[in-house]
Symmetry: C2
DNA sequence: ATTTAAAAACAGGCTGATTTGTTTTTATGA
DNA sequence: TCATAAAAACAAATCAGCCTGTTTTTAAAT
């Protein structure tokens, strides 16, 4: 179709930024932070080097913007799963498996792991990302508090218990880089559920 | 002292390799994998580029050798702590805190995290490291089995429980990169102990 | 409504610095 | 004397950021 619709400047900018951010996350997933270059991102996004630096003047600006969007997307996805469970559309087991599945097979966890580890060796990057992680944690803790209750007054609180669960998922996902053992995952998830069940339950009665 | 003792060739080689491996781990800790270069390692080790490539012809060879030694050191350190607890020289709480302390403040976990994450984006590196992680896991599981017993026949096995604990530590340490919150660590460790206590205890009666 | 000027978006190449691996030369140990 | 370890220089490739020029969109003037 040769008819070309004129786009506004804002539409052009938004589209270019979207392409760059998506290409950034995809490249982090595919080849890791150490092998992610600004030229490689521009190529994958199908935009020029000039357009790339016009919108994101430095590699760090690009990485931080991609991280911000990724964190927002993860929190939104987790909130959607939690809302489904609160409403009864999803049971506890399915919720639990879906979160682990998202960590292992989604494109959030590993790309954010790449960035977090890169930030460990880069003070400036770490400083720029620290507020983003605080914001994400606040959103996660709001989700836990809305979605789970303690099974008894002296049980571990949902906030602590679900953060512990998320740490187990993180630890398993790191280990999965070099050793992908579905049997090991299975038994770890089973053990985690057993341990959690002594302390928290969903706010609905679906457990 | 200007007197210099003549060293054997083997002593010279061993010393150069030791310097290179130590410098590799130190640089990974200090600046991360993405900022670790072979020239930087040689400089920190105080050896020339030629000596470096004589012993380790590629960056990957250097990284793999450093990983192998690091994994061996970690397993040995953990085994020493476990032996102390089995012998009664260390109680359970102290053992537990010492392991977490080693993960957070020692130079094993973060340098291995840097390497594991780098391996995620590098198929060849991943293939070379996979056997090393299998070996490490076997050593860890031998330590768990020798050091802990289940509190009852239907409790979670020590192998699974302690691997879960290690995953919690890994997850916490990843999160600590951007958010170092001692209060959060404290409550996570307390919660973990409570959960573990329902399933495992030390093979000695010191708990 | 049309034209023109200004601003923004974009394209592609360039530069200095850095990287890893290779080659040649030198020093040391056997 | 020979072999090995080490030093130093070199080559080619890659990197991020910057630059100049072009195209598209917007705003102002007529």
């Amino acid at each position: 179709m040769t008819v070309s619709t004129r786009r506004t400047q804002d539409q052009r900018s938004t589209e270019t930024r979207r392409l760059l951010l998506a290409a950034t996350v995809q490249m982090l997933m595919d080849v890791g932070y150490a092998n992610t270059s600004t030229a490689g991102i521009a190529k994958r996004a199908g935009v020029s080097r000039g357009a790339q630096t016009h919108h994101y003047p430095s590699k760090m600006a690009l990485i931080v913007a991609a991280t911000e969007e990724m964190f927002a997307n993860f929190a939104a996805g987790l909130e959607a799963l939690a809302a489904d469970m609160r409403s009864g559309a999803l049971d506890y087991d399915t919720f639990f498996e879906a979160v682990w599945d998202e960590v292992l097979k989604g494109d959030w966890f590993y790309s954010s792991l790449e960035i977090i580890v890169a930030a460990r060796g880069d003070t400036e990057l770490r400083e720029q990302l620290a507020p983003l992680i605080l914001d994400l944690h606040e959103r996660l803790e709001a989700i836990w508090s809305q979605t789970f209750v303690a099974v008894s007054p002296d049980a571990i609180t949902p906030r602590v218990a679900l953060n512990l669960a998320l740490n187990v998922f993180r630890g398993m996902a790191v280990q999965a880089v070099l050793r992908r053992d579905e049997g090991y995952f299975r038994e770890m998830l089973m053990a985690l559920k057993v341990m959690l069940a002594s302390h928290v339950k969903p706010a609905t009665g679906t457990a």
